[in-house]
């Protein structure tokens, strides 16, 4: 039996909004990334798994317990870190986390011990006796993680754990998530719309879009099958596209760039030969997989409209805030 089993799960809010639409997926232990753009249904899925939101139809079970009927039993063994602020400013981290440990069902002495343990684990030391209101965003995120860990859950659900953190804070939080998953052998589900972060810590990805399952696969497979090679030339992109299509590759022309799917083997040799034969002024060859849109929309067989693709690229460059990788190997 899988850690989480979801069958045909649908959730509608009123008649207008469909958050989940017939989702079926099994999730096995490990660090699993739940990816999707904003509004894809990630948070709704996490809340259904916690038994906080009643599904409209379909089945879901966590640790072999039905989410509809065994909500409180499930929640004793699941830790949840919400996306939004959830900490009272007037309490200290120690008081607040140990209080929540009691509410998770731990006896009083165990709650105190576990609180000290998890606050040390997330890296809060002397400041844990001060009121949370004075904490930085990074420290607050640590407290949020600590409260999710305090009852030693078997499964940890993290909703956008790096929300609002600066790059250094993101690195630390991701490292913490990874250590939690690997060293403690705890199953972790990380929901995020930032693929760059997810792929650093996860070993399995579940991608949803519009409440439907796009794919569920190990991370390596994901990247291999969905990577895109952008070949940018000063002129003659149409000719290059024709040539590569004739060579049996799936290509999309995007302005001056030709996007080549890397799904079937490594097309580098073919690209090199084609550019050389046609004598085209090559600007660069780069691998693009920085945003979910690249993963999902440029899938072979789904040609992207050039205008949309270039807009997506511009947004990707802005969102990533880092230069695009220009290496051949992932």
């Amino acid at each position: 039996m899988a850690l989480i089993s979801i069958r045909n799960l649908t959730k509608r809010y009123g008649n207008a909004v469909t958050a989940l639409d017939g989702l079926t997926v099994d999730i096995e232990p490990g660090i699993v990334g739940l990816v999707g753009s904003n509004g894809a249904g990630k948070s709704t899925l996490l809340k259904i798994l916690l038994g906080l939101v009643e599904p409209t139809s379909g089945e879901a079970s966590v640790l072999d317990l039905d989410v509809r009927t065994h909500g409180t039993d499930i929640r004793q063994f699941v830790g949840y870190m919400p996306e939004h602020d959830c900490l009272p400013p007037d309490a200290s981290a120690t008081d607040f986390v140990s209080h929540l440990a009691l509410i998770s069902g731990l006896p009083r002495t165990a709650a105190r011990e576990r609180t000290a343990e998890v606050l040390r684990h997330v890296g809060l030391y002397e400041e844990r006796y001060r009121a949370i209101g004075g904490y930085s965003t990074g420290m607050k995120q640590r407290v949020k993680l600590a409260q999710a860990l305090v009852h030693d859950p078997r499964l940890l659900l993290l909703d956008e754990p790096t929300n609002g953190l600066d790059p250094a804070g993101r690195d630390e939080m991701l490292e913490l998530v990874q250590r939690t998953g690997t060293e403690f052998g705890m199953a972790v589900i990380v929901a995020s719309h930032l693929l760059g972060e997810i792929e650093r810590v996860c070993d399995h990805l579940v991608a949803i879009e519009g409440g439907k399952l796009l794919r569920s696969a190990p991370l390596g497979e994901f990247i291999e099958q969905t990577g895109t090679l952008a070949v940018e030339v000063d002129e003659g992109s149409a000719a290059l596209a024709d040539r590569l299509t004739a060579d049996g590759l799936t290509v999309v022309v995007d302005g001056r760039a030709v996007l080549v799917a890397i799904s079937d083997g490594r097309p580098y040799d073919l690209v090199r030969d084609a550019v050389a034969d046609l004598g085209l002024p090559l600007v660069r060859i780069e691998q693009r997989r920085h945003r979910l849109e690249d993963l999902f929309r440029d899938l072979p067989g789904e040609p992207t409209l050039p205008a949309e693709a270039s807009a997506a690229e511009a947004a990707a460059a802005a969102a990533a805030g880092a230069p695009t990788q220009s290496s051949g190997q992932p």
Binding site: L52, D73, C86, L87, P89, D90, S104, G105, E117, F184
Partner: protein, 311 residues
């Protein structure tokens, strides 16, 4: 890992050498006590928070001042009684004492209402304002457990607020009396009505205040709403009753929580209502029924609110 759990002494008190080991993350293998333990913990947390225990210094100011005001009449009486005993006038004083068990609830009811207005929004308002509800609901509780535990903790706090002065009064009367067993026997019949009135008034005032504060994360709104709920119906009913002892006007008095509690107090202590009441002809059961309806209704509204609130 299991060694560290089973023999924590070896990990923490590492002997004379005093080395510190990185023992890594330890799993928790102990018991998980589930829903009832969670609800009980939240109940006691609510009770303590209402008095500002376990919270910052500023959170303690209002409960300390209001708690002192609630105790003040009892302190005054016991103090005066002590003096009277010194001068051998105890029996005359006791007969004329302005605050007795049957009048104490009416005496401090304003303090209790202010206590509700000040402290009820601390519990529900704080959880809503800072998003803490999401963390509670993600634990071994149901939403209704959360609502019941919070209301229960607050009602218990109100009960202590109202009964502590009565206990002081009792201790003062008994210990200052020359005939202690006799004094106990004399005061004991007051115990059931004191407890019953304490329960009714704590549950009604507490339930209504919590229902109001469940609907807004804003503290100021909740405080204003609670004060309005406890004063405006009282004034309106008084005006209507004053216009003439019509049937409707008389029954409308049951919409005013404080008047209802005056009625239950008169019934439980078997005292006639004062002359400022125009509705003496209402049957006694009507007050009790109105109080119980108010308690059940306010709790039901609160539980329903938290069953639907989005987190």
């Amino acid at each position: 890992m299991t060694d560290a759990r089973t023999t924590p002494a070896s990990a923490t008190g590492a002997g004379p050498s005093g080395s510190i080991y990185d023992i890594g993350y330890r799993r928790y293998e102990g018991p998980r006590l589930g829903r009832r333990h969670a609800a009980r913990s939240l109940f006691s947390h609510s009770f303590r928070s209402t008095f500002g225990i376990g919270r910052g210094g500023r959170a303690k100011i209002a409960p300390i001042i209001l708690g002192f005001l609630a105790l003040l009449p009892a302190i005054a009486i016991v103090g005066a009684l002590t003096l009277a005993v010194q001068f051998g006038a105890a029996s005359r004083f006791t007969a004329q004492a302005p605050f007795r068990y049957d009048t104490y609830f009416g005496t401090i009811s304003t303090v209790v209402v202010l206590f509700c207005a000040a402290q009820a929004p601390e519990l529900f308002g704080r959880d809503q304002r800072h998003g803490v509800l999401a963390l509670y609901f993600a634990r071994a509780l149901r939403r209704s457990d959360y609502a019941f535990a919070r209301i229960g903790g607050f009602v218990a706090a109100l009960l202590v607020l109202q009964l502590a002065p009565q206990l002081l009064l009792f201790l003062g009367r008994v210990l200052l009396s020359p005939d202690i067993p006799g004094a106990v026997a004399e005061d004991l019949p007051s115990l059931p009505p004191v407890l019953a009135q304490g329960l009714l008034s704590s549950a009604l005032l507490g339930g209504l205040s919590m229902a109001v504060s469940a609907f807004t994360p804003r503290r100021a709104y909740a405080t204003a709403g609670i004060i309005a709920l406890f004063t405006i119906p009282n004034i309106v009913a008084g005006v209507i009753a004053g216009l003439g002892a019509s049937l409707i006007g008389t029954w409308l008095i049951l919409l005013s929580p404080t008047s209802v509690l005056d009625g239950t107090n008169a019934f439980l202590f078997n005292q006639p209502l004062g002359s400022d009441f125009f509705f003496i002809d209402l049957p006694n059961w009507a007050y009790i029924a109105a109080a119980i309806a108010g308690i059940v209704g306010s709790i039901a509204i609160t539980v329903r609110r938290f069953a639907r609130i989005a987190t």
